[in-house]
């Protein structure tokens, strides 16, 4: 089913630059497994949130001033004087949280259904790169309003690089553009906060390209075998994703219009003050699990390495997981481990928001330990010793109800 345009204009362009054909293939005919569940909606929702953040962010930056003396007031100017400025800003700040919710669900879906396994290793890697870029972007964005949490969050996180032996202090000075978090820091964070989303767009294009090369994974984890197993992306998945988008937008709107500050921190409505440290410096909720891992080690360098290691090990997942069965549906032991791992991540999130005192320190250490034990030890072992359940013959055989032949018989 190749693309043959009828419109002469489109034909003319297509002969010189086959962009319409490419889009047609990507968004229309892309053969998609017919059994994708709603867990597969989060990919397109993540793409949608990226666009929301880009549009609201570009307009916000028209009214924002990146200067330590003016940034806080310019945000209040947006909230009070700019037409629908409150809407734009709350969309952008809550949008960041919604983006992370969607991406975390997308990642855990990949973990459950083994979407990282061959031949989708590069797809998985590109996804992790997007995740890293998102974290950098979100962190720098949180600094821009120049409230107390902005300033102290920036101080804590940039100081982490000071743990690097020999060159640590030099790197921190270089990051700050001075000897403390100050105006040059705010300026470069604003510049990079504007730049990185466009880098994310680039990696998203690669991510989708890789996806369309290997094809989507599906709840059975077995590949498309014949035409029976797949359906064109449009209209089936466009409409399914639109329904998912509708539900998601209702949730987004509930936060946006009725609890816009619920996921924020009151201290960030206090202007930054380098002389007053907040009682508890906490990052945004989506960084809490990593913050918990960072604080699990009494040694600064160790903590930093463990925190970055927590993401680095995810890159090795396609080789650590020895099982050739993708979907947890057919992996009775892995299925249980998956839920324990999810629980572990939830515990880490909780611990990340607590002060560094007992019993939270101990719980945090156990949860951190388990995070690495799951990925580095349990995953390879389970793959070797687990007895998988029998796989269905094909995707079609799995979706079509067993009584479908009876039904046809009774219809006849």
């Amino acid at each position: 089913m190749s693309f043959e345009p009828k419109n002469p204009m489109v034909k003319w362009v297509e002969a010189r630059l086959p962009i319409t054909g490419m889009l047609h293939h990507a968004l229309y005919e892309y053969p998609t497994p017919k059994n994708l569940s709603y867990w597969w909606t989060f990919g397109s929702l993540a793409g949608f949130m990226l666009v929301v953040q880009l549009i609201t962010g570009i307009v916000l930056s028209m009214h924002y001033t990146a200067h330590v003396d003016l940034a806080f007031d310019s945000v209040e100017h947006i909230m009070r004087d700019v037409n629908y400025g409150w809407l734009l800003r709350y969309m952008h700040s809550n949008g960041a949280s919604m983006f992370f919710i969607v991406v975390y669900l997308h990642i855990f879906r990949g973990l459950y259904y083994g979407s990282y396994k061959a031949p989708r290793e590069l797809l998985w890697w590109l996804g992790l790169v997007i995740f890293l870029l998102m974290m950098a972007t979100a962190f720098m964005g949180y600094v821009l309003p120049w409230g107390q949490m902005s300033f102290w969050g920036a101080t804590v996180i940039t100081n982490l690089f000071g743990a690097i032996p020999v060159v640590g202090d030099t790197i921190v000075t270089w990051l700050w553009g001075g000897f403390s978090v100050d105006n040059p820091t705010l300026n470069r964070f604003f510049s990079l906060h504007y730049l990185l989303p466009f880098v994310i767009v680039g990696v998203v294009i690669l991510h989708v390209w890789a996806l369309h090369t290997t094809g989507s994974n599906n709840p059975t984890g077995i590949e498309i075998k014949d035409k029976q197993d797949s359906i064109p992306f449009h209209p089936y998945y466009t409409v399914k994703d639109l329904f998912g988008l509708g539900l998601f937008l209702i949730l987004f709107s509930a936060f946006l219009f009725y609890a816009p500050n619920w996921m924020g921190h009151p201290d960030n409505y206090i202007p930054a003050n380098p002389l007053v440290t907040p009682a508890h410096i906490v990052p945004e909720w989506y960084f809490l699990p990593f913050y918990a891992i960072l604080r699990a080690v009494p040694d600064k360098l160790g903590g930093v390495m463990l925190m970055f290691g927590a993401i680095a090990v995810l890159f090795a997942l396609p080789w650590l997981d020895k099982s050739r069965i993708r979907s947890a549906r057919f992996r009775p032991v892995y299925k249980q481990l998956f839920w324990i791992f999810l629980l572990d991540c939830v515990v880490l999130t909780y611990i990340g928001g607590q002060p560094a005192e007992e019993p939270f320190i101990l719980i945090g250490r156990i949860a951190t330990g388990y995070y690495f034990v799951h990925i580095l030890i349990l995953l390879p072992l389970v793959g070797m010793f687990e007895k998988p359940k029998p796989l269905p013959a094909s995707i079609s055989a799995d979706v079509l109800p067993k009584d479908s032949s009876d039904k046809e018989a009774s219809n006849a």
């Binding site: 017919k34 007031d73 209040e76 909230m79 009070r80 409150w86 809407l87 709350y90 359906i231 209209p235 089936y236 409409v239 399914k240 639109l242 329904f243 988008l245 509708g246 539900l247 937008l249 209702i250 709107s253 509930a254 946006l256 219009f257 009725y258 816009p260 500050n261 619920w262 921190h265 009151p266 201290d267 409505y269 206090i270 009682a279 906490v282 909720w285 809490l288 299925k335 249980q336 839920w339 324990i340 999810l342 629980l343 939830v346 515990v347 999130t349 909780y350 928001g353």
Partner: protein, 255 residues
């Protein structure tokens, strides 16, 4: 086993979500809570209370606390007429300029002006307040865990220090302030202001009124936001319902 783990995960997730929402609230001291008319899905600011609250702010708080993000013109939100706003603004005086001769000059306030600040700068404010800096009140309700209830509690929380409590000179004891030692002396006293609408000016009444006024100052677009939210969500429900119907129809030929 699997079901149990799954249930535990969900329970833990819900706990984290509910706790993280509360993590913000004040340092473990149970606050006095009141009901606020602007809470809830359809809540709007109590205009009469906010107008009285403005009077409390101007007569009691404004001596030390600025409100620098709030412009007089926005008082129209609270039901003040244009003439009233002009009159209110006119009471304030601003240094403007330079004029054509290069001189700065004093002028009366205009509706487009922000509330005047009582001190020229932070140093001046600290010098007149025993070293303490009275914070700007524009965002105070959103900037403290506990929000409206915190401010209300703080206003009515002045009492005698308990036996043996080490209270330095010039500090006051407040049941709801972190550490209980607060540099601000009790600001409200019975009949401290004389309300134009005849409402008895008890400490509790003034505390409530000024809290409503400052809640509005911190979140002036609350009513527009909830109003739009209702329309957006109704539209989304309809749209999502339609998408569901279309999805069912399109997928029907596959089943």
């Amino acid at each position: 086993m699997l079901k149990l783990i799954r249930k535990l995960s969900v329970a833990a997730l819900l706990t984290v979500v509910s706790i993280s929402g509360v993590q913000a609230s004040g340092g473990g001291i149970e606050l006095k809570s009141a009901t606020w008319k602007h809470e809830g899905l359809f809540g709007t600011y109590d205009r009469a209370a906010a107008q009285r609250g403005l009077q409390v702010y101007q007569e009691v708080c404004a001596g030390c606390h600025a409100l620098k993000h709030v412009a007089f013109r926005t008082l129209a939100d609270l039901g003040f007429s244009e003439a009233e706003i002009k009159a209110l603004a006119k009471e304030a005086s601003y240094v403007d300029g330079p004029d054509d001769d290069g001189e700065m000059f004093d002028r009366d306030g205009k509706p487009s002006d922000k509330f005047p600040s009582p001190f020229a700068n932070e140093k001046a404010a600290r010098a007149s307040n025993g070293g303490a800096y009275p914070p700007d009140l524009s965002l105070i309700v959103k900037a403290r865990g506990g929000f409206e209830n915190y401010l209300y509690s703080l206003m009515i929380g002045y009492e005698d220090a308990p036996e043996g409590f080490d209270l330095p000179d010039g500090m006051s004891y407040n049941a709801y302030f972190g550490g209980h030692k607060i540099a601000m002396p009790s600001p409200l006293s019975e009949d401290g202001v004389e309300y134009a609408d005849g409402t008895p000016a008890t400490v509790d009444q003034m505390a409530r009124d000024v809290t409503v006024f400052l809640a509005w100052a911190a979140e002036p677009k609350l009513e527009a936001r909830k109003n739009m939210g209702m329309k957006v969500i109704l539209f989304l429900l309809l749209m999502t319902g339609l998408f569901y119907a279309v999805k069912r129809k399109i997928w029907a030929d596959l089943h």
